[in-house]
């Protein structure tokens, strides 16, 4: 960094409450965010601060939350209608919920292993998390099939429309989470860009958020019918 001038005189930028990068923020070059084509030819490989990933996921979560909040408020307005026929939530959904909660637990265990530098143990538990996530998704598909067999389709009535859009949109977002889990396990880490610990932590925030979001949606559909 530019040590030629009297940097002591100036106050350093310390904006990160959780002690991230702060004033020592190194030049990011063009290599952030997983690489961009012709960038950064002239820059040496300097490590980039992980702060952007934490902030990025936090902001991303707020944005996803707004998406579901808009639908939830529409749900609350809409359920007063006389054409509203509540959907009976299949029992399978409760089992799925337990599986998803368990996956959050295994994810935390995996991160604990990583903190102890037990990479094989981390990989095993991480894989278990991924598998639990996939089982949850398959379980959701099975729940849809149960409803379809009962003759409840997306187009049947407003309540069923909301049931399918809530579960569908959540499943789509969770699928993104599964992709992130696979990516974190598989990618080769260039310590100059991002460490495995950071990637795992950022992914875990999203995964736990998906978990909490599912509980919220389930409660909304269960109590709001």
């Amino acid at each position: 960094m530019p040590g030629t001038t009297s940097t002591e005189e100036i106050e350093r930028v310390i904006e990160k409450k959780d002690g991230g990068g702060g004033g020592d923020l190194p030049p990011a070059g063009g290599q952030g965010g997983g690489g961009g084509g012709d960038n950064g030819k002239k820059q040496p490989n300097r490590p980039i601060s992980p702060g952007r990933y934490y902030t990025g996921i936090a902001i991303g979560i707020v944005s996803v939350l707004m998406f579901f909040m808009a639908l939830a408020s529409a749900f609350l307005v809409r359920r007063g209608g006389s054409d509203w026929i509540p959907v009976h939530i299949p029992t399978l959904l409760w089992i799925n919920t337990v599986i998803l909660l368990a996956s959050s637990g295994t994810l935390e265990l995996a991160r604990k292993r990583l903190a102890q530098s037990d990479v094989p143990g981390f990989q095993r538990l991480w894989l278990l998390t991924t598998v639990l996530g996939i089982i949850f998704l398959l379980g959701q598909v099975a729940a849809w099939r149960i409803l379809v067999k009962q003759g409840i389709f997306l187009a049947s009535n407003p309540a069923s429309s909301f049931f399918y859009i809530f579960t569908g949109a959540h499943a789509l977002h969770l699928l993104g989470g599964v992709a992130a889990l696979v990516y974190v396990a598989r990618r080769n880490y260039d310590p100059a860009k991002v460490t495995r610990t950071v990637a795992a932590e950022v992914t875990s925030y999203y995964w736990h958020f998906m978990d909490a979001l599912w509980l919220f949606l389930l409660a909304l559909m269960y109590m709001g019918k």
């Binding site: 100036i10 063009g30 990025g56 944005s63 307005v77 859009i165 949109a169």
Partner: protein, 562 residues
């Protein structure tokens, strides 16, 4: 549409093929690509508005797209929709935030690149896809056209979300040493607050589009039932109108979208007024607070819609109070601009003329907004022409003036030379008088001929007066659109002269983007991020002794002064 990138890289091409440059993830290339996108959109959008005006005055003339309306009346709405979509999404939302913001935000905060360049590139190409979709929907039959438009709007929302994420993370995380929040230029503040607001509202638009598309394509029941409409208050359900819930979902997006278009313009105007007045921004903290205030109130107006389940009798009042309370931060901003201009040695460049034009239009349009925000006055004022006049002045034209002001100011940074001042000033005066001649009479026309307070007989009596105003407006439109030829000549003429040497900091501005050569080099700051030593607007004159650039160390500044 293949030509987006030509000017953008003319000055900074170093080998690597055309495709590599087209799909570059550099913030400067992407910023320029957005600006080219906006330029193409604004030109097409202007031509469409001229067609609409000509049709309004002389319905019998054969006009492209508006011929044979008797058999296909929906074509008229289609032209209006395309005009509105191009202008709102690809000019007002894209140019001030995504165009200038992408190019200048990293330069102004000393960041070298956006936080997530790949996402940034993705966002650009999603925007291009959305533009292509909206344009194509115009040529489709009504039903499939609407589906295609909704898909495009959803894609645009996604693009806007990705950009907003990038802008906010970049501002929070990548500021250079010494660039504290209080030292950040007001432009950067405005882009940041705007990104946060976009993040919240575009999620809602995305949810709304998803639900409507699912209703239209998959037959779900989010919006479309008579039972739901029947239990809504009668005054909200008009015959043949869109279902109420969708309208609400759309409007709480659309209301906030106004602020999304205006916020970066507030930043640009504050920045330019201070730079050309050679004075610090008057009450800078208050300005930043006002910018945040516009964001917060913009979100509350919207959030109020979202959480109000069912309409209660107080709802119009609450809404009216919220909408009016926007006047408070707006008044602060206005006071600051005027306070900065007060007694200043103002340099009358084209850029500052457009900035003053913005202030004038903002006042004029804001005043007519009071009529619409008060629910008792709105009964008299809400007529098609009055509302069109109001939002074109305050949102459309004012924001366009801010974009032009910014373009004249940053043209050397973008392309390496200034635009011609004389041509620019002629363009300004013709446009400025032109837009007032279009939109002021339009208010009058709305009050006179479409007022709901007049009975049918009374309205017929004033109809003839309305016809002559309408013709005047149309002539003014043609004149204003023709005046834009001056801009096109100036713009492209200047691009041809980019090889001419230009001072790196022709305006003696103090922010970081002017600490590097013009046009901005391949690698910002030559790989050596600057250090910031002071606030953004320590301006008191034009010689280096008199003004203090943000990047100059105190001892170097003292040296220069000697």
């Amino acid at each position: 549409m293949v030509t987006f990138d030509e000017g953008g890289n003319a000055s900074s091409s170093t080998g690597s093929g055309f495709l590599a440059r087209l799909f570059s993830t550099r913030h400067k290339t992407i910023g320029l690509q957005y600006l080219w996108l906006s330029l193409a959109s604004v030109l097409v959008g202007m031509v469409l508005s001229t067609l609409l005006r000509v049709h309004a005055s002389w319905p019998d003339t054969a006009i492209p797209f508006l011929r044979g309306l008797e058999s296909t009346p929906e074509r008229y709405a289609a032209v209006r929709l395309l005009h509105g979509s191009l202008m709102v999404f690809f000019v007002l939302t894209a140019a001030p935030q995504l165009g200038f913001g992408n190019f200048l935000l990293p330069l102004q905060i000393g960041a070298e690149e956006m936080a997530f360049p790949t996402l940034n590139g993705l966002s650009l190409w999603l925007t291009v896809a959305s533009l292509a979709g909206m344009t194509a929907s115009f040529f489709r039959p009504l039903d499939s056209g609407i589906d295609l438009w909704l898909v495009s709007a959803a894609i645009f929302s996604l693009a806007a979300l990705l950009s907003a994420l990038n802008f906010s993370v970049t501002t929070i995380e990548l500021r250079t040493t010494g660039m504290t929040l209080t030292r950040m230029p007001v432009t950067a503040w405005a882009w940041f607050v705007n990104a946060i607001l976009s993040l919240l509202i575009f999620s809602v638009l995305l949810a709304g589009c998803t639900a409507v598309l699912s209703d239209r394509l998959l037959g779900s029941n989010f919006f479309s039932t008579a039972a739901f409409l029947a239990q809504q208050p009668q005054n909200l359900v008009r015959q043949g109108s869109l279902p109420v819930l969708w309208q609400r979902l759309f409007w709480y997006f659309a209301q906030a979208e106004v602020y999304v278009a205006m916020l970066p313009c507030f930043g640009i105007i504050t920045h330019l007024v201070a730079t050309f007045s050679r004075k610090p921004v008057w009450k800078e903290r208050l300005v930043v607070l006002s910018v945040c205030g516009v964001g917060v109130i913009g979100f509350c107006v919207w959030g109020y819609h979202m959480f109000a389940t069912g309409m209660n009798p107080y709802a119009p009042l609450v809404f009216s109070v919220l909408a009016s309370s926007l006047g408070i931060p707006a008044a602060f901003l206005l006071a600051s601009w005027l306070g900065t201009l007060w007694d200043a040695r103002l340099q009358f460049t084209t850029s500052v003329l457009f900035a003053i034009g913005f202030i004038s239009l903002f006042i004029a349009g804001g005043l007519s907004g009071i009529f619409l925000a008060r629910h008792d006055l709105a009964r008299a004022a809400v007529s098609e022409d009055f509302v069109i006049g109001h939002f074109h002045l305050v949102m459309g034209v004012a924001a366009t003036f801010a974009i032009l002001a910014g373009l004249f100011f940053w043209f050397p940074k973008l392309f390496g030379c200034r635009m011609k001042e004389t041509l620019g000033k002629a363009h300004f005066w013709l446009t400025f008088t032109g837009v007032y001649c279009i939109f002021m009479p339009m208010h009058w026309m709305g009050l006179l001929t479409q007022s709901t307070l007049l009975s049918g007989v009374q309205r017929a009596a004033v109809a003839s007066a309305g016809a002559s105003i309408r013709t005047f407006v149309t002539v003014a439109t043609i004149w204003t659109v023709a005046a834009q030829l001056l801009f096109v000549v100036n713009f492209f003429g200047s691009l041809l002269r980019t090889k001419m040497a230009e001072a790196d900091n022709p305006w003696q501005a103090s922010t970081l983007e002017w600490s590097i050569p013009s046009p901005a080099p391949e690698v910002d700051f030559g790989g050596q991020p600057p250090v910031t030593y002071r606030g953004a607007y320590e301006l008191v004159g034009t010689s280096p002794a008199e003004f203090a650039p943000q990047h100059l160390a105190p001892e170097l500044l003292a040296q220069k002064a000697r």
